[in-house]
């Protein structure tokens, strides 16, 4: 494998729902070892971008490559944390069952999880401080705990590239801190993490790079370079409430 191949490369990606394009001509090269935030208004196509990268939605045009290979060949190197609300938390499984699902891509379809899989699952639960809850039914978890379980499952995937869809939504402050610490740790191990994020003030703090998205790529680059009032206004368009929030944040930044 060519080491110069970037972890994630998107070329001319267009995605449409019912013939109406949601994402146009996305061109992106994400370097390794970066924590990337994806920011944009509702309906900007943030979740769509992730799903299209993971082969969950068909592309109208363009391609996605991981380390120079198509998703089909590299799926064991790519991990995914869907939105917490996308699953039924009344489902009859417990915490370790969910984390073990992260190992499903590693072994044969028909094999039962091995002892090693279970050991890794426990390790990952420990990393998110959820080991004492291993046998807990998932409907008895708080929002923050559910998110930690999802994160542990992603860790169990042992991937090089991660996509996370709003991992900070509806979690308590302690979980938010724990997650961001974990993401920094992963980044320091050289992994690439792409996170859809809703909150602008913290976006500036948390991420190395930002992708400003509104159906097209408005800007992509290091956070300091991209987090400007001009680019954010272009991303959020005429949405005044968000706009004033943006102006405040940028002002704070300039005052510092």
């Amino acid at each position: 494998m060519n080491p110069s191949n970037p972890p994630l490369e998107i070329h001319d990606m267009t995605v449409a729902y019912h013939k109406r394009p949601v994402l146009y001509g996305i061109d992106l090269v994400v370097p390794g070892g970066k924590l990337v935030g994806v920011v944009g208004p509702n309906g900007a196509g943030k979740t769509t971008l992730i799903k299209a990268c993971l082969g969950l939605l068909p592309l109208s045009s363009g391609w996605v490559k991981y380390f120079g290979q198509a998703y089909r060949e590299s799926k064991s190197r790519v991990g995914y944390v869907p939105q917490r609300e996308s699953v039924d938390w009344d489902f009859p499984v417990n915490v370790s069952d969910v984390v073990l699902m992260g190992r499903y891509g590693k072994t044969s379809l028909f094999m039962r999880p091995t002892r090693e899989d279970r050991a890794i699952a426990r390790e990952c639960l420990d990393k998110v401080k959820m080991l004492p809850y291993a046998d807990r039914q998932i409907s008895n978890l708080s929002g923050g705990q559910q998110q930690r379980v999802f994160l542990a499952r992603a860790l169990a995937q042992e991937s090089d590239v991660y996509f996370m869809d709003e991992p900070f939504s509806g979690v308590d402050a302690a979980t938010e801190t724990a997650i961001i610490e974990l993401l920094h740790e992963l980044r320091d191990q050289g992994k690439t993490i792409i996170v859809v994020h809703h909150d602008l003030p913290t976006a500036k703090e948390y991420f190395d790079m930002l992708l400003l998205l509104n159906m097209r790529v408005v800007a992509f680059g290091d956070t300091e370079e991209v987090f400007t009032s001009e680019l954010l206004q272009r991303t959020y368009g005429g949405r005044l409430t968000i706009l004033s929030e943006v102006v405040d944040v940028v002002k704070q930044q300039e005052e510092r």
Partner: protein
Amino acid sequence: MKGSIASLDLSAFLLQPWQDDPAGYGWIVLMAFLVTLSCGLIGNYLVLRRMSLVGDAISHSVLPGIAVAFLVSHSRDPWIMSIGAIAAGVLTTFLIENIHGRSRIKQDAAIGITFTTLFAIGVIIITVFAGKVDLDQECVLYGEITFIPFFDYVSLFGRPIAPQPVFVMALVTLITAGLIMLFYKVLLVSSFDSGLAGSLGFNQRMVHYGMMCVLSVVVVSAFESVGAILVIAMLILPGVTAYLITYRFPIMLVLTVVHALLSAFIGLHLGIWLECSMAGSIVVAGSLLFVLAWIFSPSQGLLRRVLYRFRWRENAETQAGGSPA
């Protein structure tokens, strides 16, 4: 003695049948158990994937499939019926997905349109070709397990082992259980989190269509015993009853077996007592078990909820009374 209910003489209804005709009743109970079990196993997934209505749809829309299969082959061979059922099941799934996916019509409406139309076509085929199609509408709709011919034995190595219908149903149950064991991981992750399943490379559409094929075969095999309407109950009842008792999916599968066994037994005796349709009494027995689980489930039953609230209030009162503010 129709039109009245016989008095409840336990020995007559519980012991007499087994003394008079143990083999006959044995096959009926076994058949009822196999039907309920195979339906219940696949039904677990319908319940968890919120597809209970799809079970309803498939159970009706296999009718034109088996009618056409019969017209073409002039045979009621289970294999040919299964092929007809699978074809109809795949067509139903395809139509539902396309009506839903390629228009503004929502999924429940798409299901409603598809299965009623296909069922109507089935009814037309049966009535138009009434002379040629040896399918009784009454039987297709309601079924009757006691009318199943249990005298035609299947032989293996020259030894008769089981009546042909029981043998076929056992085979269908084994195939269903085997497929569930084989694809356990795929089915679990795709039912819980379709996004993750897709990103792991499990083809969601394939899983869905595969499940619909198995469902079609199960439903058509259950037809003779319970009919197209009551089979819906068999698909849903074991799953929801188990779901109320346990929080673990493997245990849910085991409880499905228990539920199937109990409803077959209780249903048989209820049917003998009331001299009524055995299919009906098995379903009522299954529903009874559901109600029991609903009320008495140790983890989430109504009774527990009431007790919990009562105890909580009592605690609150003693605390309020015990500590004068």
